[in-house]
Symmetry: D3
């Protein structure tokens, strides 16, 4: 199994509902450094999984509506705790759509798995992975 992984980041505000979250129930924020890995059983004729440039562009397009936002105020996240885990899945869904819709260029059609990792600090991160 082959994989390529690209990195970008966003800087957002949000708050959480639930006693579990303690002080994080208050409005606070995070820099999320996001890695997206695309898996493919074999390389394309060009010798790649997908084009790294297009993968970077697709990730940036996915993150752009979230960057410099208060996630609590975005309709798509209404009533939702935008935890690091939850956001991994949100980015996963968008990147899976990008693969299916050909936005990753040649190779995207054969992506069999995607993993989205988000580092929230130097001591904590989360990820989500699933087959396409």
């Amino acid at each position: 199994m082959f994989a390529v992984e690209v990195r970008d980041h966003i800087m957002i505000a949000h708050s959480f509902r639930g006693d579990l979250f303690g002080p994080a129930q208050k409005l606070h924020g995070a820099t999320f450094v996001i890695d997206v890995a695309f898996f493919r059983e074999a390389l394309t004729q060009d010798g790649v999984v997908v084009d790294i440039g297009r993968a970077h562009d697709a990730l940036k397009a996915t993150l752009s509506p979230l960057n410099y936002q208060n996630l609590d105020a975005l309709p798509q996240f209404s009533g939702q705790n935008t935890t690091t885990e939850f956001l991994c899945k949100h980015v996963f869904d968008a990147m899976a759509a990008a693969a299916r819709e050909g936005r990753l260029g040649p190779g995207g059609e054969g992506v069999s798995k995607i993993r989205v990792s988000i580092e929230e600090s130097h001591v904590a991160r989360a990820w989500y992975e699933a087959a396409l």
Copy 2:
């Protein structure tokens, strides 16, 4: 599959028995930077795998008896080479018990896999992972 991962570290002395280890048969030591990842098929109602705060606390409680110790002198490791690989399994067992005993809080009961990675330097690390 979702995962969250937390980080802590210990500073220990130890030595190894066996020709394989060459100069590491002498009493030496290491800073071990330890990442523990908890895997869960679905998020809890709060939208998490497990609470990151409790995960950090459980890891610190596991590491505390080892920190600033000569591992050669600890009864629980008697006759054992405390290699990085071996310590991954040791921390795994303790974190698996923490999950089973409810010490990770809500979500801990559904943890299906744990992975413990230990970085022993900028050029070497080890890990152990298994289903619960």
Copy 3:
């Protein structure tokens, strides 16, 4: 010249006033990973600059009122853009006070310079340094 440096982090929300900031004028947030370095011409009798444990504690005490906060709502930052650069100076002032007031333990009295670095993402950071 000797130095020791300790690391901690905070997760905050804030917004900026001024056209210069473009989209960062909106409420957003950041994980700030903060390194504080203490400089001293010579080591103490114990062979240290300052005690690393006490330095970590003093940094945590300084960061605690900021962690999980919306900095826009804190009275001490009223009318102020809480840029990464500005926060470096804020933490510097608190750590300089900690040194002067003996909260760093033996060695703190001889600290001649402090540098505070804040990483806001994997591609940007800021710092402030000055003599005491």
Copy 4:
């Protein structure tokens, strides 16, 4: 499942054929930081997956013919785009041979999987993994 991972690097020139690669069709180069992970179900009697020292040596021997080379001029890569993904597989094959031929020392015979990761910059990497 246990694993140990070792790191080394090479500095090479190469170019790619295919419109997909845009400006990377020109002669350029890369520092590749390479991590090789060896997986084993159980530890050896010594308590290791494989000896880290021997693993480092085997990786260096594999990388040595590539280091400080223009990969376009090497006969073993003739007509081949030496993408990061492709090189992961190249290193994998060599490390799998090292395991089979006993060059990793005791434990090498039981290595059940190898993963080769190559970081090409702070924002992009690739990997290949397969069972032996």
Copy 5:
């Protein structure tokens, strides 16, 4: 003294002349991860050293003519060993010009020092710094 630092990277081919360089006399290449720090005695009215967005743009404009190039073939480097140290100075000169010519926006006029660091691998880097 305040500072802000931004990061970008290039992937280039080159070779060195001189026995000193051993195998690096052959055509090879590197990923250079480049950090540029801007120093200023005081913050601007906006509370910054310089705008991080503009600093990133100015760095990208400086690096663009070098990215995906064989530096041996560029007229501006004719007869020159393009060592990591040399390239630090090259980038410094361009960033100093950007500051002087107002391309960093407000604050750029008061930049008193610039430092350019280039990481060529996980075990080696170089830098150049000077007052403006």
Copy 6:
């Protein structure tokens, strides 16, 4: 001012005397990741500060007598707390001697400053720097 910096590491055991050190008074250990930076006002005719290969070799020669040792048992450290700060100075002295004695090759004679940084964990490090 130009600089080049090289990295290596050691794994050692030691203990500290003095109430200040709390649990670190017990025999424990550390992985020390060591960066040595060489500063020079101008580049040599070859376009370097010093040869990075020779710098790596000189650092390895300096660290070799310490690696895999219990520092408490080494005569050169008798009666001394081998703190991270202290070890920075120890490595500095050895690297300064290497520069003076020509072991860094061409360029070494003009090194005007050396800085030795030691990372003891992901959250703490120390350094020593001085003019030659």
